[in-house]
């Protein structure tokens, strides 16, 4: 079926979800390529979101790391992260398909915030499912969502994190699919979500590919992005797949081999699993799902990343909590840019690649800003 990425992907859902997903796939295939949709989407991306976001040459950090480091400034997108691209695209599509209500899952709260934003913008009621573990560590985003009129529904089951929030949202979707669109936040889940999210995030790569050539004169040697579900990474990678550019995903390596959320780089099993409607790689049973960053704290990964890895087109490496926190501080001090903890993983991987002399020019997707992580940072770096 379409939506398969090599042996990964697919639509493994209860029969009752098949029809609404088939309808969504059809709407996606027929509406999104139209000029009318693209005009509307581009209009909002530009005038509401602030696109294009710039590419920045980080001179001081480049000196410290020993390679030219460029950042795609998705942290400057309205809302503070790349999430708006996808939320806008899906919400506009949902409107076209006659849906009245949006639901979403969120980990760090960035996707929930983006959904709350477009819900307010397009006048659609929004319910966001969020694990209580994340509500605790990302309180500011909870306030932001509520201020914009979204309902934040705490999820208390299981590990109380992102995976459980996805479950709860799927349940709501199954009950209310006639009028509700489930605005999935990452390139995960059953078809058509992974390819739909890639499409709406591909603007990151398209812009960055042009911008870096303008600024640097040629394509970078490597692109690096963090990978939880993998939406910002696939958005960046998608423009470089046919180029001679190395692609790297930074997975959350957590604290050690039994506490991480890095299925591609650390899982011992070869075989994919069926998880949340897709066939993909998942962390091992004896691993506790953990990351310092709520937005990467997901036990599986988008199926296209699993495919890119198996094809040898992209490499995925685990970055520990501490390595990410170091990079978080280094960028803040070197450039006066506070990154979110999620892209701090990508920065840390770029640092390793630079120090190992593997590439001279590295483009890093700075997919979100770090305001939401100040509590964690204050505790870790003793800032109070």
């Amino acid at each position: 079926m379409s939506g398969e990425f090599e042996e990964f992907g697919g639509r493994h859902v209860p029969e009752a979800l098949e029809e609404p997903l088939a309808q969504l796939a059809e709407a996606f295939d027929s509406v999104v390529p139209t000029e009318e949709f693209q005009e509307e989407f581009q209009y909002y991306l530009k005038h509401y979101g602030g696109r294009p976001t710039p590419v920045f040459y980080a001179e001081t950090l480049s000196e410290i790391y020993g390679a030219d480091i460029y950042f795609k400034h998705e942290d400057l997108l309205h809302g503070g992260a790349h999430k708006l691209n996808n939320a806008l695209g899906q919400a506009l599509l949902a409107k076209h398909a006659g849906k009245e209500r949006l639901i979403a899952e969120t980990g760090a709260g960035q996707h929930g915030t983006a959904t709350a934003m477009v819900g307010a913008l397009l006048d659609m009621p929004v319910t966001v499912y969020m694990g209580t573990k994340d509500i605790g560590r990302q309180e500011m985003n909870v306030f932001r969502m509520r201020l914009m009129g979204a309902e934040v529904e705490p999820v208390t089951r299981g590990n109380k994190g992102l995976a459980e929030a996805v479950d709860a949202a799927l349940e709501d979707f199954a009950q209310n699919m006639e009028e509700t669109h489930y605005l999935v936040g990452s390139a995960v889940g059953p078809d058509p979500f992974p390819r739909m999210v890639r499409e709406f995030q591909s603007v990151i790569g398209k812009e960055a590919r042009e911008q870096i050539q303008e600024l640097h004169g040629e394509l970078p040697d490597a692109c690096v992005a963090c990978v939880g579900g993998g939406s910002n990474a696939i958005g960046l990678f998608s423009a470089f797949l046919d180029d001679d550019v190395a692609l790297y995903g930074a997975e959350p390596g957590g604290t050690d081999d039994s506490h991480h959320s890095a299925p591609l780089s650390k899982s011992k099993q070869e075989e994919p699993q069926i998880f949340q409607g897709m066939k993909t790689k998942v962390i091992d049973d004896d691993t506790e799902n953990h990351s310092v960053s709520a937005g990467l704290d997901y036990p599986a990964v988008g199926p296209e990343h699993a495919a890119l890895q198996s094809l040898g087109r992209a490499e995925y490496h685990a970055i520990t909590d501490d390595e990410a926190l170091d990079a978080f501080q280094e960028l803040s001090q070197a450039e006066g840019i506070i990154p979110a903890l999620e892209p701090s993983h990508a920065i840390a991987l770029a640092k390793k690649l630079a120090q190992e002399d593997r590439h001279d020019t590295i483009l890093v997707n700075l997919c979100g800003r770090g305001d939401k992580d100040m509590q964690t940072a204050a505790e870790h770096f003793d800032l109070s």
């Binding site: 697919g10 209860p14 098949e18 075989e271 069926i274």
Partner: protein, 285 residues
């Protein structure tokens, strides 16, 4: 396709009452007493849920049952042991998610794929499987394994299932078809949609019994659905609710078992009453 004789026999004398419980909810011993109570109450087939940590789009009643069972230590191996020890005289159908079936062989050092699971299920006396997240188009390996080991493979038909998907299911189903009475997740609701009648009509050409589930909680509802042409009724959440209440109030197991038996009897009687009420027209569906 293999037809499991025990399941065919359960439908031979009229519409079947098919209760569901999650195995191991809230613990191994209590769960055994509960399943046996359902048999005493008049179950014709029993669906045994094998808990999986990542169920998809289940209602909170079943979700919570799965969580209790997993916390009580339920695993596929324990599940098979449970079935072996069970003292019941009706066919048993295992309801679980495909990842568990697919990974079972590999987790025991063998090859991935459904055969090892189905072989073991047949060995302990399971007669059929229901796998909610397995699309019919990807069901061939499991269908084959079921044929090899004499198990039925039951598919769930939703009110929105049409066209190719419906046909793919029809080609691969055996034992009975699970007709989902309404959209939404599982859970006891007092209204049973009239989508049911329409769904039954849509399936009139299928040569397997049509069992209706989702939202049935009383003998009256069971009777009405059977009178409208169903060959069986499936009841899960209304029974799981009784287990949940027993677990939260820490009531003695025997009391909860007695309540389950009484509820099963009500539903079984409703099923028979519905059969008696059927008009000749309806029988023709």
């Amino acid at each position: 396709m293999a037809e499991n004789e025990a399941i065919a026999a359960a439908f031979a004398d009229g519409p079947a009452f098919i209760p569901y419980l999650a195995v191991g909810d809230p613990d191994y011993e209590a769960s055994k007493a509960y399943v046996e109570a359902l048999a005493r109450g008049g179950a014709d087939i029993i669906e045994l849920g094998l808990p999986f940590s990542e169920p998809i789009a289940e209602g909170s009643t079943i979700q919570n049952a799965i969580v209790r069972a997993l916390e009580g230590g339920m695993t596929p191996s324990r599940f098979f042991e449970f079935v072996t020890e069970l003292d019941v005289d009706v066919p048993l159908v295992c309801m679980t998610y495909y990842n568990l079936i697919y990974q079972y062989g590999r987790s025991r050092g063998g090859a991935p794929g459904p055969d090892a699971f189905v072989e073991r299920a047949a060995e302990v006396g399971i007669s059929g499987l229901v796998v909610p997240d397995l699309p019919a188009e990807e069901a061939d390996p499991l269908r084959e394994a079921c044929d090899d080991h004499g198990l039925d493979l039951v598919f769930i038909v939703a009110p929105t299932t049409e066209g190719e998907r419906l046909e793919r299911m029809m080609e691969r189903v055996s034992g009975y078809v699970y007709v989902q009475a309404r959209l939404g997740t599982t859970g006891a609701k007092t209204d049973v949609s009239d989508q049911t009648t329409r769904s039954l009509q849509r399936l009139s050409e299928w040569d397997v019994p049509k069992a209706v589930g989702f939202g049935i909680s009383s003998g009256d509802q069971a009777a009405r659905i059977v009178a409208n042409g169903a060959d069986g009724i499936i009841v899960g959440s209304a029974l799981v609710d009784i287990v949940a209440e027993g677990a939260s109030s820490e009531r003695p197991v025997e009391e909860t078992a007695a309540e389950l038996e009484a509820k099963a009897r009500e539903l079984a009687e409703g099923t028979r009453e519905g059969a008696a009420r059927r008009s000749p027209d309806v029988d023709a569906i």
